[in-house]
Structures are given as C-alpha cells and as structure tokens.
Subunit: 205 residues, 2 copies
C-alpha cells in the first residue's frame, strides 16, 4: 500500500513536471492532484529534490540499459535507428529533464555529475558503433571528422527536444529525432548503407 502510494506520487510528479516544467510544480500541487495530504507525500519524499532524484534514477536506469545492450555482431543501420528510436522514447517520457537541462544541472550538482556520465557513455557507444562501421568498410571518415561527428551526435541527441521547443515544433517525435541524428552519420556512409538509410528515412519520417 505504502509502496503503491510512492509509485503513484512518482507517476503524477512525472506527468506534471513534463507538462508544466519542474520549477513550476510544487509538492503541494502534486499532493493536491493525488488527493493525499502534504504530510503523506512528505512521508515518502522528504523534499522535492528527493522526488526529482527518484525520477532521474528511473530515467538513468533506462538509458544505461539501452546504452549497455550487448552486441554479439556488428550493428547495421537499422539496429542503430532502433536504438535511437528507443532512446528518444525515453527522453520523451522524461522530457522535463531536457527542457531546462542547464538549470537542472546548476541546481542539482549530483544529477549534473550523473548526466555527464550518461553523456560520456553515449559518446563511447556512438564511437564504437562508428568504428565498427568503418572497420566493416561501410563508413569513411577522418579521425578529426569522427571526433566532431561523435560530439555532434551527443549534442543533437541532448538538445533536439529543446530546439523543437524553441521553434514551437510538434513535440517528441522519436522517428523524426532519430533521423535528425542519423542524418549526421549519413554522408559518411558508403554505397549500400547510405542508400539503406535514405530508404529508412523515406519510410519513417
């Protein structure tokens, strides 16, 4: 029962943070929405920071799981597309984190640290996927281009949502976001692989 209330608090907080922006939602507002007393909420989460931390931990868990997927074979273009699609679904589910990332990082030093960890792992995964494609003769890039490419993959993935927001875009569309990141890799692909990606983009966006 207590466990159940904790779960419901997290779900309601996530929905409100996503819809209205985390700084604009108080814990009293969350208690109101759930029709529980502020004291009851306080019993489960002593501070709003504790609640934010719990939501971040759930997000982090999903991202790390995605990024740590075992690769028994060299990934092909469709595998990478799928990975990006799943990552953007997760980003969409926890979009309050990405809405004002600098602000969140400034107010919560611990989360800043952990977000940097996710970013580092993102770049390592992107790097190893690209190196596989290069070894396999499906991609061609100089070392300097590859380094800039990896940074751009991380940058576009991290700020796609904020960019969409500044432009008053259509909100989270995992396939559009996936193509926006894949388009960074596209011109470095050789022959078949480049045509394959173009076909995927035609089909999904």
């Amino acid at each position: 029962m207590a466990r159940d209330t904790r779960q419901r608090i997290e779900e309601t907080a996530l929905a409100l943070f996503n819809a209205e922006g985390e700084p604009n939602v108080t814990t009293n507002r969350i208690a109101d929405e759930l029709d529980i007393s502020p004291g009851n909420l306080h019993y489960h989460f002593r501070t709003k920071s504790d609640l934010i931390e719990a939501l971040f931990a759930a997000f982090e868990h999903r991202m790390l799981e995605l990024l740590a997927a075992p690769e028994e074979r060299v990934a092909d273009i469709e595998d990478i597309w799928l990975l990006l699609h799943l990552a953007f679904e997760t980003i969409g589910a926890y979009r309050f984190i990405y809405r004002d990332l600098s602000d969140l990082c400034a107010r919560h030093r611990g989360l800043h640290q952990r977000f940097r960890g996710i970013l580092r792992l993102t770049m390592e995964s992107a790097s190893s996927l690209c190196e596989d494609l290069i070894d396999d003769g499906r991609m061609k890039a100089s070392a300097r281009e590859l380094e800039a490419l990896i940074r751009n993959v991380a940058l576009v993935s991290t700020f796609w949502l904020a960019f969409d927001q500044v432009q008053d875009g259509e909100g989270v569309r995992p396939d559009r976001a996936a193509w926006q990141v894949m388009s960074l890799i596209s011109p470095y692909l050789v022959g078949e692989s480049r045509a394959h990606l173009q076909a995927l983009a035609e089909a999904y966006t």
Copy 2:
C-alpha cells in the same frame, strides 16, 4: 550624462548576467555594483524585463547585421568560417541568452518570437550558402540530406554553448564552435573544398 548612465547599466547588467545567470541577478544587485541608487536605475529601466529587452535588442542587432551581409560573389569555405567565428563571438558576448534559452523564451514571449526570427534567418542564410556551393559543384547532398543539415547547423549553433556547459567544457571558444558547425558540412564537400576545410580545422582548432 543620463545617456552615459544608461550605457553603464547595460554593460554591468550584461557582465553580471553572463557570469551568474540572468535569473540570479536582481536590479538592486546591478545598482549596488554600479554604486548608484535603485531609484536611479529604475529611472532608466522601469523593470528588469526592460533591461533584458535592451540587451536582447543589442544582440539581435549584431546577429541580423551578420546574417544580412551582402554577398556579391559565391562565398568560399573561409568566408563561411569567418561568418561563424563572428557569430560565435556575438553568442559569447551575450551568452546569458543561450545559457537557459528555453526558460528565457518561456518567461519572455516577445523575445521568444524574436529569437525564432533570428533562427529562421540563420537557416535561410545556411540554406542559400549551401545551395551556392552545390550549384558551384563544391558540395553534393540530396534534398532530404540538405534539409536535415540546415536544421543541424541551426541546432548545433544554438546549443553549442549549453552543451559545453553541461560537459563542464572550456567556455566560449569561437574557433572550436565554428569547426563543430563546419564539420556538419565537411562530408558533403567535394574534392578541394573538403581538403581546404580540413586544413583550416588543423590550423585553427
């Protein structure tokens, strides 16, 4: 004399906003720093929003001037690099705008509108520069790739600084930022132009 005070207020506000983040700096703090009375500051800028608006107008003026530079001839790679360098110098000078862009846009509807205007013009300029390069046989990209490229140029330009901040990077380095944007274009360049860009990257970053 009054004119002079107004100018000094703007300069001090800009320096404090950049160093500490606009939401963390009050008008009283600015008056303190200048050793003038809050009433004197109030005489020149009725509200903090008026002050932010004045700084944004100065930033906007510099950006529009850059983006509207007349082109008598097809730009070459070095011209584009220089344009980006100047743009990132301006972004660095007014970095408080880019620090928490979503937040600033949410709190100031009018500025959001105007920022979108700058973004639109950025994409139009990038588009016309790329089309010139394509017509001139120095660049090769499909229509779908070109569209994604232009969006990525705008996205990376807009969020380069926030990304650097999240990563605890080295702060504004116009040449590194310029290369990060140019690297998006690099793989679409053909022959000489691509080699020329690589040489510039070697020399400047």
